[in-house]
C-alpha cells in the first residue's frame, strides 16, 4: 500500500509544484492520475521515485510511505529495491544501448538472480517483440516499441508497484489500446499501478480509482467508473482534448465501452 500524506514539492526556491497532496494506492489497485499539463502529475511520480533531485526539486513537506517504509528519504535506487519502479515521461530508454542491454539495466535493481530470470521470462512473454529485437539499438525502435521497452525495463526488477508517466503520449490510438491492455495484464499478474495520463479515456478504461490534479492540489478522487459518469468530469476532463462537444461525448462513450469490455488477457505481438 502506497500512502501519500500532505505532500509538498518545490522546484528550486520559488516554484511550488505540489501543495499538500493525499493519495492511497492499495496493493491490488490501479490508480489513474489525471490532470492537464503542468498540474503536477510527473512531479508526484518523481516524489515517489526519489528522482526530484535530478530536476532540482525537493519534498518540502509531508510523507510518502510504502508498506511501512518511508520513501521520501530514500534515493531512487533504494526506492526501486523497495519494489516501487517508475517509467518516466517520454519513455527515456537508453537509445544507444541494445534492447537486451536496456532490459539488463532494468534488472540491476532486482533483488536476486532468480527474481531477475523470472522477470526476464515475464517481460519476454508480455512483449515478444523485445526478444525479436534483442540485439537492435533501442533508439531504432518505433515509439510504441520504445514504450514497451520502457515498461519491460521497469518490470525487470519485479516491482510490486509500477508508476507510469503518460505511456500513451505521442502514440497512435491502436498502440494506445495495446498499451492499455498490457497495463491490465500487468495488474492482473499482481502489480499495483499508478497511471498518470492526459488521455483520460484510456486511463479510466484501465483504472479502478482515479484522482484529478489541478495546479498542485488534489481536485477530485473517486472510483474510476463514477468519475467516468460524472457530468462535470466529462465536460472538464474527458472533453479536455476534444475538438468539439460531439467528440467529447464520443470519447466518453469510448471510455464506458472500454470499462465494460471483458478484461481479457491480451498479448502484444508487435
Amino acid at each position: 500500500m502506497l500512502t501519500v500524506r500532505n505532500l509538498r514539492v518545490r522546484y528550486g526556491r520559488s516554484v511550488s509544484a505540489l501543495h499538500g497532496i493525499d493519495l492511497d494506492v492499495p496493493d491490488d489497485g490501479v490508480l489513474a492520475v489525471l490532470g492537464s499539463n503542468g498540474a503536477g502529475k510527473s512531479t508526484l511520480l518523481r516524489a515517489v521515485s526519489g528522482t526530484l533531485g535530478l530536476h532540482r526539486g525537493s519534498v518540502t513537506g509531508g510523507e510518502i510511505h510504502y508498506d511501512g517504509t518511508r520513501l521520501d528519504k530514500l534515493d531512487p535506487a533504494a526506492v526501486v529495491r523497495q519494489g516501487v519502479v517508475g517509467v518516466p515521461e517520454g519513455r527515456q530508454i537508453f537509445a544507444r544501448m541494445s534492447v537486451e542491454e536496456n532490459l539488463r539495466a532494468g534488472g540491476i535493481g532486482a533483488r536476486s538472480a532468480a527474481e531477475r530470470t523470472a522477470a526476464s521470462r515475464r517481460v519476454h512473454e508480455l512483449f515478444p517483440v523485445l526478444a525479436d529485437r534483442a540485439s537492435q539499438r533501442a533508439g531504432l525502435l518505433s515509439g510504441g516499441e520504445q514504450q514497451m521497452l520502457a515498461i519491460g525495463r521497469a518490470l525487470m526488477s519485479s516491482p510490486r508497484l509500477l508508476l507510469l508517466d503518460e505511456p500513451s503520449l505521442g502514440l497512435a490510438p491502436k498502440i494506445v489500446e495495446r498499451i492499455a491492455a498490457i497495463i491490465r495484464d500487468i495488474h492482473e499478474q499482481g502489480t499495483a499501478v499508478v497511471l498518470v495520463e492526459q488521455n483520460a479515456v484510456m486511463a479510466l478504461g484501465v483504472a479502478d480509482h482515479a484522482a484529478v490534479l489541478e495546479v498542485g492540489t488534489l481536485a477530485l478522487s473517486a472510483p474510476a467508473d463514477e468519475l467516468a459518469e460524472s457530468e462535470d468530469v466529462q465536460r472538464l476532463y474527458l472533453g479536455g482534448h476534444a475538438e468539439s462537444e460531439a467528440e467529447a461525448e464520443r470519447q466518453v462513450e469510448a471510455a464506458h465501452e472500454q470499462r465494460s469490455a471483458k478484461r481479457r488477457l491480451s498479448r502484444w505481438s508487435g
Partner: protein, 292 residues
C-alpha cells in the same frame, strides 16, 4: 624508413600511456560530466608513492602500492569533495578539481625537492635492436600493458553489469536511477578506475625512455596530454580516448623528429584544434566540447 618505423613504435608507446590517461579522464566525464583537471596530480601521487616505498618493497611492490594509492586518492577526492557538493554544476566541480590538482601537485613537488627520481624498472634505458630498428623497452612494455588493461576495460564496459550501469548512467541519469542503478557506485568506481589507470601510466612516464626525466613537475605537464587526447577522441567516447591517445603519441613523436622538440607540444594542440573545427564533438564523441 627504419627511423620512421622506430618513430611509429615510440609514438605508439607514448600513445598507449596517453590512452590510459585519456580513458580515465573520459570515464569520469561519462559517469559524472565532470572534467577532471586533477588527473595530472593523480599521476604524480601514484609516482610519489612508488618513490617512497621502493626502498622497502622493491620495484614491483612499490608499483602496486603506487597504482592502488592513485586509485584510492581518486576515490577519496570523489567521495570526500565532489559527492558532498551534489547540487553543484559540473562546471563548478571542474573548478574544484583544479584546486585539488594545485594542492596535491605543489605538495608533492615540494616534497620531491631537488631529487627527480626515475621510477622505471630495469627495462628502462636498455634499447632493443630489432633488425635495424632501435626501440625503447619502456614503450614496448607500455604497449603490452596498455593493450591488456584497455582490453579488460572494454570487456567489462561492454559485458559486465558494471559496464551496463556505467553506460546507462552516462546516457540517462534519471532512467538509470529508475532502473535501480546506484549513482554513487557508478561515480566512485569511475574515479577509482581512472585513478588506477593514472597510477599505471606514471610507471612509464617518469622514465629515461619516455621523458628523459624523473618524477617532477614535468611528469604532471606530460600527463596533461590526456586532455588533447580525450578531446580529439571525443570527451564522452571511451574508444575515442584510446584513438586520441595514440594520435597524440604519434603526433608528438613524429613532430619531435621531423620538426623540433619545441614544436611537438604545439603540434598536438594544432591537431586538436583542427579536429575541433572539423568535428566539434571529437572524432568519436557525441557531445560538443564547446558545450562543456
Amino acid at each position: 624508413m627504419d627511423t620512421f618505423v622506430q618513430l611509429v613504435v615510440n609514438g605508439l608507446g607514448k600513445g598507449a600511456v596517453f590512452a590510459l590517461l585519456a580513458l580515465g579522464f573520459v570515464i569520469i566525464f561519462k559517469a559524472t560530466e565532470v572534467v577532471n583537471f586533477a588527473h595530472g596530480s593523480l599521476v604524480l601521487f601514484g609516482g610519489y608513492l612508488v618513490v617512497v616505498t621502493r626502498e622497502t618493497l622493491g620495484w614491483a611492490g612499490a608499483a602496486v602500492v603506487g597504482v592502488l594509492s592513485a586509485g584510492l586518492l581518486a576515490l577519496l577526492v570523489e567521495r570526500l569533495l565532489l559527492s558532498r557538493s551534489r547540487l553543484a554544476s559540473p562546471f563548478s566541480l571542474a573548478l574544484l578539481t583544479i584546486g585539488v590538482d594545485v594542492i596535491i601537485t605543489e605538495e608533492i613537488v615540494r616534497r620531491l625537492g631537488v631529487s627527480l627520481p626515475f621510477i622505471g624498472d630495469a627495462w628502462d634505458a636498455q634499447p632493443l635492436q630489432v633488425g635495424g630498428v632501435t626501440m625503447f623497452r619502456t614503450h614496448l612494455v607500455a604497449i603490452v600493458v596498455a593493450t591488456v588493461l584497455i582490453t579488460l576495460f572494454f570487456l567489462a564496459f561492454r559485458y559486465s553489469n558494471w559496464g551496463i550501469a556505467m553506460r546507462a548512467q552516462a546516457e540517462n541519469k534519471e532512467a538509470a536511477a529508475l532502473s535501480g542503478v546506484r549513482s554513487w557506485v557508478v561515480t566512485s568506481s569511475a574515479w577509482l578506475v581512472a585513478g588506477l589507470l593514472a597510477g599505471v601510466a606514471v610507471l612509464f612516464i617518469a622514465t629515461q625512455d619516455f621523458s628523459g626525466a624523473g618524477l617532477s613537475r614535468g611528469t604532471h605537464s606530460i600527463a596533461l596530454a590526456a586532455f588533447p587526447a580525450a578531446i580529439i577522441g571525443g570527451l564522452d567516447s571511451t574508444a575515442g580516448a584510446v584513438v586520441g591517445g595514440l594520435v597524440v603519441g604519434l603526433v608528438d613523436a613524429l613532430s619531435t623528429e621531423y620538426v623540433s622538440f619545441a614544436f611537438a607540444k604545439s603540434a598536438v594542440f594544432l591537431v586538436m584544434l583542427v579536429v575541433l573545427v572539423v568535428r566539434p564533438s571529437g572524432l568519436f564523441g557525441t557531445k560538443e566540447t564547446t558545450r562543456v
